[in-house]
């Protein structure tokens, strides 16, 4: 019996029709969702999930496929956020134009950084990526004339989007953000699919598996790592711009910290790196969990289960559980690394393989 392979590792044979149909169906369903689901909070959670998907899928191209563990993606996220906000707030450039500028800056800077740091390997690359992101954070913090320093930039308003004099949206509700987020998320998923089913995907994975072997097979390491970084930085910056416009505020301590970088990595690690679905699973696990904690859903649930709201424990839970969402990130990553190093997706696949294997054994008469 051949060992079962994750589909991503298998060579594509003809068009993968079923996944494509599923993807289209999911997209259509999500497209109609706001017609039925009008609660601003529910929409808000969906926007956060889209954001996490965009971030995770973007990081995945560099960290998952190419194996370059950047823990400095806050740099590109922050640049996307800052540049878009500065262009809009100080130069009145509409965000749908500004985002291109900010994305170009992020990609350009990324390639410069990449050309310098990609000769480092393993933990040294990780450390360098952190250092670069910290340098950019410190610049944003100290270059007060341009970035407004620690106070950050507060957006007054987003101009309404009109095409040919017709108003498309005025960005007053969460619905336009929902659709922009959905479109970006779908786009990054499509990009990952495209990478996986092209020469790039083969080369990226070869670099991940063994740099020296890849090099000797005609793969230019610096070039292809930079291509991966450029794709990754492009969409990470776009997600930064999207986030900044949605929240209406940026400052160094929300978009440029090591924590931001770590959270981007965690989305992929928890879901399963180097797979298309991994970041989606990661986002679906992380965002609802941390939102549930933030909004005290869990504390309320515990009260319903009989924990007295007025006891000391109850008071403690009520006051503090809302702050625990980052703690959950920590616990999750420890659990995932120790018990499911290939992420939730890999874990589920492993279980399935095990059960399938058990079922197959008696049939082959090997019991």
């Amino acid at each position: 019996m051949r060992p079962a392979l994750p589909p991503m590792l298998r060579a594509p044979r003809g068009a993968a029709v079923l996944p494509l149909l599923l993807f289209a169906a999911a997209l259509a369903a999500l497209g109609f969702l706001p017609l039925w689901m009008t609660s601003p909070y529910a929409l808000h959670v969906m926007v956060l999930i889209f954001l996490a998907v965009i971030q995770g899928e973007s990081w995945n191209v560099l960290g998952g496929y190419t194996g370059q563990y950047s823990v400095g993606h806050a740099a590109y996220f922050g640049i996307g956020a800052y540049a878009t906000m500065m262009l809009l707030q100080y130069h009145h450039l509409a965000p749908w134009w500004g985002v291109w500028v900010s994305v170009a800056v992020a990609v350009g800077l990324g390639v410069v950084i990449g050309s310098i740091t990609f000769r480092l390997r393993g933990p040294y690359f990780v450390l360098a990526s952190i250092a670069v992101a910290e340098i950019i954070r410190l610049i944003a913090l100290n270059w007060t004339d341009v970035t407004n320093g620690a106070e950050g930039i507060l957006l007054s308003d987003i101009p309404p989007l009109t095409i040919g004099g017709r108003l498309i949206t005025d960005f007053m509700s969460k619905v336009p953000f929902y659709y922009v987020g959905l479109a970006l998320a779908a786009m990054t998923i499509a990009v990952n699919w495209g990478v996986q089913h092209s020469k790039l995907g083969y080369y990226f994975q070869a670099i991940r598996e063994d740099q020296d072997a890849a090099h000797s097979l005609g793969i230019s390491l610096t070039f292809y790592k930079n291509v991966a970084l450029a794709i990754s930085a492009f969409f990470t910056a776009a997600s930064g711009a999207f986030y900044a416009l949605y929240v209406g505020f940026v400052d160094p301590s929300t978009v440029l910290t090591v924590d931001t970088s770590v959270q981007i990595v965690l989305i992929c690690i928890i879901g399963g790196i180097g797979t298309i679905l991994g970041p989606v699973v990661g986002a679906l696990v992380l965002v609802p969990l941390s939102e549930a904690l933030r909004s005290n859903v869990i504390a309320d649930g515990l009260f319903q289960l009989g924990v007295s709201e007025n006891s000391r424990t109850g008071q403690f839970l009520k006051e503090n559980l809302a702050h625990a969402h980052v703690l959950i990130y920590g616990v999750l990553v420890v659990v995932v690394i120790l018990f499911m190093p290939e992420g939730v997706l890999g874990f589920v696949k492993g279980l399935r393989r095990r059960f399938a294997g058990k079922a197959a054994l008696p049939a082959k008469g090997e019991a």
Partner: protein, 288 residues
Amino acid sequence: MIIFVQSLLSGILVGGVYALIGIGLTIIFGVMRVINFAHGDLLMLGMYLTYFFFASMGIDPFLSIVLTAPVMFVLGAFLQKVFINRVLNALPQNQILLTIGLGLVMSNTVMLLFTSDYRILTTSYSSSALHVAGISISTPLLLSFAITVAITAFLYWFLLKTDTGQAIRATAQDRDAAQLMGIDVKRMSVLATGMGTALAATAGALISPTYYIFPQVGSSFTLKAFVVVVLGGMGSIVGATLGGVVVGATESLAAVYISSGLKELVVFVLFLLVLLFRPAGLLGKSRM
């Protein structure tokens, strides 16, 4: 000139504490080849323990090290046995993520228990200073430096002269060879993590009279510890000592001559330059 000497001196004094942080990180790395991203959080725990001993029992922060260090040693040994030991053969990135996760758990647990308020530990000598030839030296900084020197001297003695110390160094040099020679490598790993943790916590205790104490204080020290260790060459204790002093002095001089906001930036640029051009550290190849 006075300003230069003044800032260089206080930089070196602070650098002593950085060296202690770096030595802890480098011992852990040396013995297990694991980069501990929770190092700053261990330091943070040391600060809170010190604060606790001071606030509830009135024990002087420098004296309470004799309590803090052993407690944190045990915690470090526990972390090694339960968590780090399981990823010794995993991909480096998974080791890194595990320690990042542990760090997040520590800092956020402290935040849950004690809120994210800044705490200040004020001793009778917190703001006193010695004045010599126009130069003023902060008393707590001087005291902490003296303790650092004593601990470092003890560490050198321990690693060079005792059997256990030599076993740790042998493990750091070549884990497989050490195992073949009958060294209990597992025990050395537990010891090393315990020591590294105790050193980080000691550094935390030493800076507690002069720094704000809050749950997120660790992350900037984690980064600083990397700089110190990479400057000196990963795994080298002499290198970490030197690296600590270099980072302290660089920060202090950059704060005076460039801008206090940019002092960390200067350090990170230095860090990148060393990573790129002298990846084995300023001292080159030497280990422990």
